[in-house]
């Protein structure tokens, strides 16, 4: 067999230069995406491409505040992505609640539920700041420090505990059955075999 570790620098370079993003435009930050993608800031120069399907995504952008309802979708979407995957949290809201710090229905620390690799502060961050975040992400990928997906696997118990504390046991199956029934049914078939 070929020793694929030999090609790791090449793979890391390709991963760094070709990040396909799924953006979860929950909050105000979604409005920063159009200037980033079009001629003013043009992130396609770095190979970043908006992509609607979580199966092909590398970079998961969470652009704004997170409520329990969206958090369920975020977790399921995150788990649908193939490894390696990176998360970029956008704005103060996912960081510490931002202006919703005392809100009854906003998630204060996204970090407790899924691993965040790079967080951009600001309310809302200008496109320059987002570009800066993407640059930082590229650096981290190249040095191998963007290991959120590894952390998620290693500390799955902890993340799971936090998620279950918020939503109650069995939320994952319930939400997933509603949102991705074709996957859930298949899993059941496998179990029955």
């Amino acid at each position: 067999m070929v020793d694929w570790r030999l090609f790791d620098p090449l793979f890391e370079y390709a991963r760094k230069r070709s990040m396909w993003i799924v953006s979860f435009c929950t909050g105000c930050g979604g409005i920063e995406m159009p200037p980033l993608a079009t001629s003013r800031y043009d992130f396609e120069r770095f190979g970043v491409m908006p992509n609607p399907s979580p199966r092909m995504a590398d970079l998961f952008l969470i652009t704004g505040y997170v409520t329990p309802k969206t958090l369920k979708r975020i977790i399921i979407t995150y788990e649908m992505q193939p490894d390696p995957k990176y998360v970029l949290a956008h704005g103060s809201c996912p960081l510490n609640g931002g202006i919703y710090w005392d809100g009854y229905n906003a998630i204060k620390h996204l970090d407790k539920y899924i691993p965040v690799d790079v967080a951009i502060a600001g309310c809302m961050p200008r496109p320059e700041a987002v570009m800066d975040g993407i640059q930082k992400m590229m650096e981290l990928i190249e040095t191998g420090e963007a290991d959120g997906w590894k952390r998620y696997k290693e500390n799955y118990e902890w993340y799971r505990k936090n998620q279950d504390e918020l939503f109650g046991e069995g939320w994952r199956e319930k939400t997933a059955r509603r949102w991705i029934p074709w996957l859930m049914d298949k899993k059941k078939e496998v179990k029955e075999e």
């Binding site: 390709a14 230069r17 399907s53 199966r55 092909m56 074709w182």
Partner: protein, 309 residues
Amino acid sequence: MMETALKALFILLYATFVGFMFMGIIRIVTARIHRRVGPPIYQPILDTIKLLSKKSNITHGVIYDFGVLYALGATILAIMFIPLGNIGVLRAYGDLILITFLLEIPMLGIMFAAMSSGNPYAGIGAQRALLTMLAIQVPLGFAIVALAEFYGTFSTYEIVMAQQVSGWSIAHLPLLLAAIAYDLVLQAMFGKEPFDIMIAPGEISLGPMVEFGGKHMGILQIQHAIALFAETLFFSNIFLGGAVVTTFASPVLNTIASLAILLVKQIAVLLVATFMGAIFPRFTIDQAAKFYWKWPTIIAALGAILASL
């Protein structure tokens, strides 16, 4: 035997490489039309390497895996039949029809795989792709009939040879009409606007592609590159005169010259498709079907009638 294998390998490598460059060119040209800088030309290669190096892979069963390979295999088979300058591996009487058919069945493979994933978006996408395929059959058939009628043969190689004597196909009126119809069909085969109904990124999340990720998508990227190369090559062979250079003494120089001429013609075909894609919005599926059954069909049928007179 050995020589044929080497030729096949060369065609495969050349087609893959040039196909990736074509994908890069499409992205750069589209970006420039949008007044953006655009990615580097080797971006699709990086994308493919990244997709192939994904650490986890999701599969939905045997058909899901098989469909992807089926698509790649059909495309490779098609590229072996199309004469590339004076290199050709497979040659058969009637390969005009065979190639037309082979250029379409990769879509079927992708549809098998997409449907077996069970995703509703993939289902809608496959449905739309089938309808588009149905819509393009009519003008495509007439264009091919016009070509065969005019040259009196179903062999691609003989058509290329005949064009060396009598000038490019599009210099004759009936075939010019056929070429226009075929070019409109090509737009749907490339999956570019206004006929990118089946993948429609913002609308049905890439349609059939939505469940592919990791290595499956990597293989589909390679397939897409080869298919781009094959479709442009086929068009430049049957309508734009192909290229069979015999002026130099050494065969190697002849081959390089023919490849260069073909490359220029292929890029011309590609750019026309890219420009059309960049300036038009998307049709809905019924509009596309109506369009194909009206204008390109009339043009191609007229071509076929004129050719047989």
